[in-house]
């Protein structure tokens, strides 16, 4: 596999390549386990010797946050983290819809694009909708995105400009998978995770009216 003839590569290029490899490796390493990260297991000499890899990951994670080298990857778009279906695949199966109330008091359920109900070609081009709700689903971290989400659902729900949506309830339909040794829940439970009063002026602007 090694080519026969050699050439001269500039020492600067060599330094860049080696530094790049070191940085992407450093950036891609996993976080330490929670008990180490949360200092449930404090970094005493005894513990560091007992869990050397965990504490190495802890140090790496600290360096990732504090080191200016992170800017090289973050600014240029070379940031990376390869945690596909890891550390565990998701066990919560969920999808969204919105219950919309109109000015005349009527209500309608407006679906958010759901992969399960799509044709195969639609699934190919619409997968980003699934990804987006994966990044919008955390009650603690993602709730700042919900007003805009609801406002967008109001726009999609508008049929008659004289009868605009006034209220949007974002609903999560979910089932928790407990594992292969427990019965698989067949029914989805429903939870309204956000209620939004539609901002009419923004809605009219989005509708272009």
């Amino acid at each position: 596999m090694v080519p026969a003839q050699g050439g001269r590569v500039s020492p600067l290029v060599k330094a860049f390549v080696l530094a790049h490899i070191a940085l992407i490796f450093h950036w891609s390493l996993p976080m330490p386990s929670r008990r180490i990260a949360d200092r449930e297991i404090p970094p005493t000499t005894e513990n560091v010797l007992k869990y050397p890899i965990e504490f190495a990951l802890y140090a790496n994670d600290y360096a990732r946050g504090a080191s200016p080298t992170g800017y090289y990857l973050q600014c240029t778009g070379l940031w990376q983290y390869w945690d596909m279906f890891a550390p565990n695949p998701a066990s919560l199966d969920y999808w969204y819809d919105a219950r919309v109330t109109y000015a005349d008091g009527s209500t309608r359920v407006v679906p958010y694009p759901r992969m399960k109900t799509m044709t195969i070609p639609q699934k190919f081009v619409s997968e980003r909708y699934r990804k987006f709700i994966e990044r919008t689903n955390s009650d603690a971290v993602d709730n700042w995105k919900w007003p805009n989400f609801a406002q967008r659902m109001a726009m999609l729900a508008t049929i008659d400009p004289t009868n605009l949506p006034t209220r949007v309830e974002l609903r999560r339909h979910y089932r928790q998978l407990k594992g292969p040794f427990d019965p698989e829940p067949m029914q989805y439970e429903r939870f309204t995770f956000y209620v939004h009063i539609v901002v009419e002026v923004d809605l009219r602007r989005a509708l272009g009216s």
């Binding site: 050699g6 060599k14 990376q80 390869w82």
Partner: protein
Amino acid sequence: MMRWLFGYGSPVTFGVTRALVGFLALVNYLMLSFSFEAWFTESGFYPVRFAERWAGGVPRLNLLAGVTDTPTTMFVFWLGALAAVFVCLGLFSRVSTIALFVLVVTLHHRSPDILHSGDTLLRQLLFFLMIGPSGAAFSLDRWLAVRQGKAPVVPPPVSLWPQRLVQVQVAILYFTTVWHKWGGSYWRDGTATWYVPRLEEFDRFPLPAFVDDLPLVYVSTYATLIVELLLCTAVFVPKLRKWVLLSGLAMHGFIDYHFNIPLFGPLMVSTYVAFYEGDEVAAWWDRLKARWARPRQRVAA
């Protein structure tokens, strides 16, 4: 190790990688175009202010930073698609790979919440294509240069470190993903692949039910970890390389058939060619041509 990393050789492999990655970038653009309004406009799910918040004060390469005008965003979007066509064909390779890298990163930094690992890999590959001699073979640039007598028929050797970077990147990807997975209890107890087929939003083509049930779930869980581990270790052993890459192909083929994760599998597999030297790829191509030519000669006779 240094000789392997910084040696010289045929640019054919890197040229083929460029064509594959350019094609997949174009497919990605076309797929995204169906939901452009949802992800890249102010009335969509992800207005510009969301990207600013996500950036967290870190300056990001993003030509669309602060741009709320839809026609401008659409122009930048389609400019990227055009650059992908040029990269695929190998036309103005240096300029087009730089343009595609900048435009893809721009798009990713404009709406980061819709990205998956395939997008992350695409950015890395475009970076390597941009800094390496990706147009030196298997490109319209080279075809035109040979035709005009400006380049020799056999492409001269080039420094292989950009191709090596692709290999190292792929190895790091597989190595760290195994490490990530080993931190999870479902991967360790062998039940991880029981969960994913039951997430209905991932459904694509069906398989017989027993494939997604115990005991085959144990087999597919541990097989995934083993194949991924081989793809970052044994793949560098010449005698094992072919079989390891075939097992990777089978793994990604299975995932792509069963689960709706567009483009991740094809992008991963497109990098496998980088594990072959340019001379090997060229020889393989010659053998294929000869095999095609033989039946035609027989028909003609």
